[in-house]
Symmetry: C2
Subunit: 307 residues, 2 copies
């Protein structure tokens, strides 16, 4: 059997994504050892019970020491501080990456702490569920997904190649782009959808003419789809919106403009404008299903039989 891709992989933060990555690394034999670190004693205990890692550390620096791959998997707001804390322990030619949903802000916060000789290759696997914590993770989370890398100009090519091979082995395809473009793309494909979902669930919860019980009872008419992503981790998402402010505000402005036009079409009874939009939007879904990023089964393949 050939040597594993990395001798020692340190994963800092063992939530949904970090713990899934630990499982994937073990499942695919990508490391001689997987070391996990998390600031929370409860998370470390859960990780221990789940046997996610070969070793668990409360001290982040100790986890990073000797690791040839270090993965930051904390909320993006914490990544600068974590990078600062582990920086003195990073060895020469170690790779440092992250899984944050925003890239420019992470580069700004973590980049200055990265010592010379360490290869910083920021990354973002486009994968997740609405659940949180180490028990919610699973090795197949990254299967048939995309992982975006946003290495700064001049990053060591071998490091990029090796990290690409790592994500490929976890089941993902890798795309390289600039951090600014990543943040714009994700603002529309992920951040604004989450914000809108959180928002409508909040609007529904605050009505005086319709009870919360009614909203819950009759949610099968469409509302329940929104509640899934509005159940995502609050800390992670607070950080995303604060860290990707400019792109989110830009996309939100466009969304609101378009919504105002739709509102006007409804007020003035312009059925053709509504019909035209509703016809166009079907094609996008077809594209997503064809690209293997979604199930084509009706209702997401939710079970309909009482079984």
């Amino acid at each position: 059997m050939s040597d594993p891709l990395f001798k020692r992989v340190a994963i800092i933060g063992l939530g949904l994504v970090g713990s899934s990555l630990a499982r994937a690394v073990k499942a695919e034999g990508l490391a001689g050892a997987v070391v996990g670190a998390d600031a929370s004693p409860q998370v470390r205990q859960q990780a221990e019970e789940l046997k996610l890692c070969d070793a668990l550390e409360a001290d982040l620096g100790r986890a990073a020491a000797g690791a040839d791959l270090n993965v930051l998997a904390t909320p993006v707001g914490a990544m600068g501080a974590v990078a600062k804390e582990i920086a003195p322990h990073l060895g020469k030619d170690a790779i440092l990456t992250d899984v944050g949903s925003v890239k420019q802000a992470v580069i700004n916060a973590a980049g200055p702490h990265v010592p010379a000789g360490v290869h910083f290759v920021p990354g973002h696997p486009i994968a997740g569920t609405e659940q949180s914590g180490p028990a919610a993770g699973f090795a197949a989370l990254f299967h048939q997904r995309w992982c975006i890398l946003t290495p700064p100009e001049g990053t060591n090519e071998d490091a990029i190649q090796k990290l690409t091979q790592f994500w490929n082995s976890c089941g993902s395809q890798v795309e390289v782009m600039s951090p600014a473009h990543h943040d714009l793309v994700l603002a529309i494909t992920s951040h604004v959808p989450h914000l809108i979902a959180y928002n409508i669930v909040g609007t529904a919860a605050d009505l005086e003419g319709v009870t919360r019980q009614e909203v819950i009872k009759y949610s099968a008419g469409g509302f329940r789809d929104f509640t899934r992503i509005a159940a995502s981790d609050p800390t992670m998402w607070r950080d995303v919106f604060l860290a990707n402010k400019d792109a989110v505000l830009e996309m939100l402005g466009r969304f609101s403009e378009d919504l105002t036009a739709l509102q006007r079409a409804i007020r003035w009874g312009d059925g053709d404008a509504l019909y035209d939009l509703f016809t166009r939007t079907r094609q996008i879904r077809r594209g997503i299903i064809d690209a293997g990023q979604e199930t084509g089964e009706p209702d997401f393949g939710r079970r309909h039989e009482d079984d």
Copy 2:
């Protein structure tokens, strides 16, 4: 074996809901005969190939003649005209109901045509998928769902009871409320969610800085959830928004107000406001899962293994 609940059930409109109802009536033995009618020759042909009904009619009046239960299952914009067309053929003590997503507008459009002695009990099963047409239907669509009836003051109690029994037999629980309250509840639990989903998919399709291919590729970050309901039938939904204008505009106004407050929180970096909302919204989803209206499996139970 006891007599079926109805001697002859006529279903006018054999799309997703009408064809599912035809299947449910047959599966549960709720009628001596199921007669289907549809204005579209293609739909009638599909219905014939699928053996959905005991008889198929192009002429709506002929379908309704002799039926003790008549169900309007067309887009709501067509229901007034359909009611007018079948009215002369409705027998004494026949029940006339519908499955429209808006109730006051259907009552306004169809009500005046209903002959004396016919029991008009408007209804709305809160069930559906994003697919359309007779081939997309299935008998279990109404299982574990709610059906709302909005009978006008003074409606024959036996007719309401019998229709309730009918929906119970199809697998649904029945709730009775006023048409105005129905329209308000559905505006927030169904109509505005659909509008927002259509809108963001349209916004994403029209960007110049992000390609449509990128939107599709990276949709797993949240966007793809919205595309499901934005793939729903365009004619049905155009009619819903035009027919429930007042309640939709009211709920949309609240949604936009709340969204503006969130936008401001992002602009000014108010992380606590974001965190508070994102924490509250989790509880609503928990309620929907506990109420049996949603799967608790992560990611809607979408399959994650490459199988």
